[in-house]
């Protein structure tokens, strides 16, 4: 069956960029909430302007590339008209909500208002909007006529991507994004989140390859008939394992060499890109 989604490069870029941005925000939000409790409000500078600007840039770029998917990008604002029934409308709504909330946080931080109680509320609201954004994103693919997308692996893999690429991005860019030295909760929470995500993804890939693995629709037969070069899944999984290995080497190093984490981020990014390509390539609906 000729699927409509053989080369959805704009959606691959949109999903990966936005999931990375949300994951990075969650990482620093977790550090912010921990710091807030442990060190007092005034000491908290973890939401830096470069970091918030980076999150906004990623989300803005994601939104821009997603327009390339539309036949009539000029009419994109009307995609918000069906919030009552359409997960696509909700996805866009929550994406805009995250952008607006992060923008307000950046303005407050720029004006030195990060100690205001509203800042903490806004951080929580932006984190929740990010979760709803990812939830809407995965639900819109879980069509009852597309078995390959309908399974639990869709939300799990989207969440795992956010929790892997986001924290890895924070770790990889920590010298540029943050203006303070030393060990910080931001990096600790990033390491924990990325490690958990890497382990989750490794388990997912092992289950993916296991015949009759129950919760996953994809069987080994599906991989044989994959409408994409067969090297893609193998390369994707191996790069993921390599990225995970580099992450753990970085974490257990005494002087934490940045080269390892940068390479881990690149490996994980390419792996997730190939994985997302395969996700769209696996499109196949029931019927004709």
């Amino acid at each position: 069956m000729p699927g409509p989604s053989e080369r959805e490069w704009s959606l691959i870029a949109f999903t990966l960029l936005s999931q990375t941005a949300v994951g990075a925000f969650w990482t620093v939000a977790a550090a912010f909430l921990m710091t807030d409790r442990r060190q007092g409000f005034l000491e908290n500078r973890v939401f830096t302007i470069p970091f918030l600007a980076s999150v906004l840039a990623l989300l803005g770029l994601a939104a821009a590339v997603s327009l390339a998917h539309l036949g009539r990008p000029g009419r994109a604002p009307s995609a918000l008209f069906n919030l009552r029934r359409s997960w696509l409308s909700r996805e866009i709504f929550f994406e805009l909500a995250v952008i607006a909330l992060v923008l307000i946080l950046a303005i407050l931080r720029y004006r030195g208002r990060e100690t205001a109680p509203s800042f903490r509320t806004l951080v929580l609201a932006a984190g929740a909007a990010g979760l709803l954004f990812l939830h809407s994103m995965s639900r819109l693919y879980m069509l009852r006529t597309v078995p390959a997308w309908r399974g639990l692996h869709t939300p799990l893999s989207f969440l795992a991507t956010a929790l892997l690429l986001g924290p890895l991005g924070v770790l990889a860019g920590r010298r540029v994004l943050f203006d303070f030295p030393g060990s910080l909760h931001a990096f600790q929470s990033a390491a924990v989140l990325a490690s958990l995500a890497a382990v989750l993804l490794v388990i997912l890939t092992v289950l993916f390859f296991t015949p009759r693995a129950g919760i996953f629709g994809a069987k080994t037969e599906t991989l044989r008939d994959l409408p994409a070069p067969r090297i893609y899944p193998l390369l994707s999984f191996r790069l993921l394992y390599l990225g995970a290995a580099l992450l753990f080497i970085f974490l257990f190093q005494r002087n934490q060499n940045s080269g390892y984490i940068l390479l881990a981020f690149v490996c994980a990014g390419v792996s997730e890109g190939l994985g997302r390509y395969l996700f769209y390539a696996l499109y196949g609906r029931i019927g004709v």
Binding site: G71, R75, N82, L88, T145
Partner: protein, 209 residues
Amino acid sequence: MTQAFVRQYAFYYDSSVCSGCKTCQGACKDKHDLPLDVLWRRVYEVTGGTWKKDGGLWVPGVFAYNLSMACHHCRKPICGEGCPTKAITKRDDGIVLIETLACIGCRYCEWACPYGAIQFDVERRIASKCDYCYDEVGAGRPPACVAACPMRALDFGDFEDLKKKYGGTSEVFPLPEASVTEPALLIKPHRDAGRASKDTAEVANWEEI
């Protein structure tokens, strides 16, 4: 037919007499002036079976039949459920239409429809599909495909009336279970359609539809 009494327009299709001439497909394309690669009505050629050895003799056990499919103006149109702009609407007479000015060309409806009814119009950059020739039907004439069929394999009208007149089913291989979208479609299956779901059968003409 008195249009005031139509609650759900539907198509009837007799697969047992269809010769696969594709006149319906051509008539639709001509009437709506559809661009290249857009077919609001498509004729699927389903083939299956195999040759079997009976003693020293090879006996043909192959079969083939046609399925002429358009939009089935479903009672639960899954295409419209996810449309972010509410561009897909269902009229009181059951006809499902795409409002071309509202469509943003996200192709989400195309992903969802299990009948391949939604066709992306590359020239206009929006989704398109069979509109049941509502202008013709409104003027008391049949849709172009129905009018053109030389085998009289197609008919149209109110779903309940067609059901009383012909009976039929909407679950013929390789179509999905009717419960998914509740299509307004009645088919008299080809005699080999039952075998298709059991034997190895496939659509043989993907390249042209």
